[in-house]
Amino acid sequence: MSKVMLEVKELTTKYVTRFHEDIYAVDHVSLKNEEGKSLGIAGESGCGKSTLALSLMGYYFAPLHYTSGEIIIDGRNISKMDPDDIRRTILGTEIAYIPQAAMNALNPTQKVINFIEDVIQAHNPKATKTEIYELARERFEILGLPAEVLQKYPVELSGGMKQRTVIATSVILCPKILIADEPSSALDVTSQKMVIKMLRDLMDNGFIKSMIFITHELPLLYNVTDDIMVMYAGQIVEKGTAEEVVFDPLHPYSKGLMNSIIVPESGARHVKLSAIPGVPPNLKNPPQGCHFADRCKYVQPECKAHPIDLQEIAGERAYRCIFSQDYLRKAYKNGG
């Protein structure tokens, strides 16, 4: 077993609204990511996956607040650290984060190289301009970005190019973990593929040690990550390897998600898509029992009675449901 890069134990964070209501967007989430592995987080919008991404950095600002739990990066617990220390010593060097609209992070009045200089000098004030340029050029070339990009202004670059530039810049300090929150969902399929290739290259070249990839596009997740976690209403409802989760989902919610996959493959036309009825619960007052109970086909009275624990089965596989895996598999087979 290789080294664990990121370990999260029972992390709970909440939003506090203007009216002082608490919204538990991340509810006792535990995860583990090993060196050289990538972890995918799937779920519909509003399930807390983006909040999880923000929470993992340990850098909290209103309205997001830390409640409990631990974040351990390469053996170092950052959950109790001062936000300013986190910014100085963790962000960029240990954890890098790419939000969905990362391409808008580029300052339109600055050349790309100036942006990179800022990033590097914030952590290493002694770095000279030529050193930085050489480093950036070398890195960009490995990642398939032409060196001319460095001397350009953001407006001169296309959307996909900007996104890749920001990603290359954000990992220039070789962070241990990269958190990518829907880095390609605003892009064309072609640019999306380039971004994915780039993320793969980052892993292969060792510029990042592990990656957390967040998206609601399951086919993409399946192709990018080794493991997948499915998140629903702030909780992890299922985790396992990509294959297991996509082809043999256990939790009824994951099953529902898998039924909404559309891919341009022969035969896909004849698959009957099925959507999950209803809406996710309001996280201001999360339900007592299973969060998914109200939308679940197989719901039993006891589902709503008490919180459901994650059932661990072989390997790293786990799911949050009262039924046994055999029961669920059989039910899916009969119910289509």
Partner: protein, 273 residues
């Protein structure tokens, strides 16, 4: 076979040029197409390929620079507001962004009542109007009692888009132009929307023009696919034909670039150019 199908909407040499002189930008370049009644047509292209401009021209929101549109065999005439109104009774649209598709100052009731009036139901008794709205809402799996007196922005993106379909259900146009109706909402709601579009066609016999950048969606849902690149239609044909046996290099690339699950997704072929 060709005789059975009645042509619904045709375009010949449709061109739209924005700007003048050096800043000239050809958005749509001599596009020809024929759409039969009750057909589900997809127009696939990347951003900037001119598919939305094409949609706006078909809707009569933008004037084509060149070319003609034929509606039900006759040349389309929308020179006056009255004729436009008549045309819009037979063609309606769902737009990409549900959040900007609603007037945030109008309640949901207003949105639906507006459609009833447009269908000539302005003088219907109130109870009848409520019945119509309830029927439309139940068609899209929404409960009218829960929506009444609410504002559209209180709904989720998926629900808003479903309300758009409820609107179409009341209006019952012959043609529905769906301009990327699923691209702003997440994968789970997507299936619902697609289901409802198919149901619209089956139950009402609507012709649906579905504009998308996702070739997987186009393959799943449509009978006929047009691929657009740089304002031109470069390939067209039945969905099976185009997606499973693409002739053009561009189409092949589009298909390759979509992540797959049962087949190998080849990342090594990516060129960074």
């Amino acid at each position: 076979m060709a005789d059975e199908k009645k042509l619904c909407l045709c375009g010949s040499g449709l061109t739209k040029i924005y700007g003048l002189g050096r800043q000239k930008c050809i958005a749509v370049d001599h596009v020809d197409f024929e759409i039969s009644e009750c057909e589900f047509v997809s127009i696939v292209g990347e951003s900037g390929s001119g598919k939305t401009t094409l949609a706006k021209m078909l809707l009569g929101l933008t004037k084509p620079t060149e070319g003609e549109i034929y509606f039900q065999g006759k040349k389309r005439d929308i020179s006056t507001l009255r004729k436009k109104k008549e045309y819009w009774k037979s063609i309606q649209a769902i737009f990409q962004d549900p959040y900007s598709s609603y007037n945030t100052f109008n309640k949901i009731d207003t949105v639906l009542l507006d459609c009833i009036s447009m269908r000539g139901g302005r003088k219907l008794p109130h109870a009848k109007k409520i019945d119509l709205m309830e029927e439309a809402c139940s068609f899209v799996n929404l409960k009218f009692e829960e929506l009444t007196n609410k504002y559209p922005f209180e709904l989720s993106g998926g629900q808003m888009q479903r309300l758009m379909i409820a609107r179409i259900f009341i209006l019952k146009p012959q043609i529905l132009m769906a301009d990327e109706p699923t691209s702003m909402i997440d994968a789970c709601s997507r299936a619902t929307i697609l289901d409802m579009l198919m149901k619209l066609r089956k139950d009402i016999g609507m012709t649906i023009i579905f504009i998308t950048h996702d070739i997987g969606l186009a393959y799943y849902i449509s009978d006929c696919v047009y691929i657009m690149e740089h304002g031109k239609i470069i390939e067209s044909g039945s969905a099976e034909e185009v997606i499973l046996h693409p002739k053009e290099e561009y189409t092949r690339r589009l298909i390759n670039d979509v992540p797959k699950i049962h087949e190998e997704w080849d990342l090594s072929s990516v060129s960074y150019a």
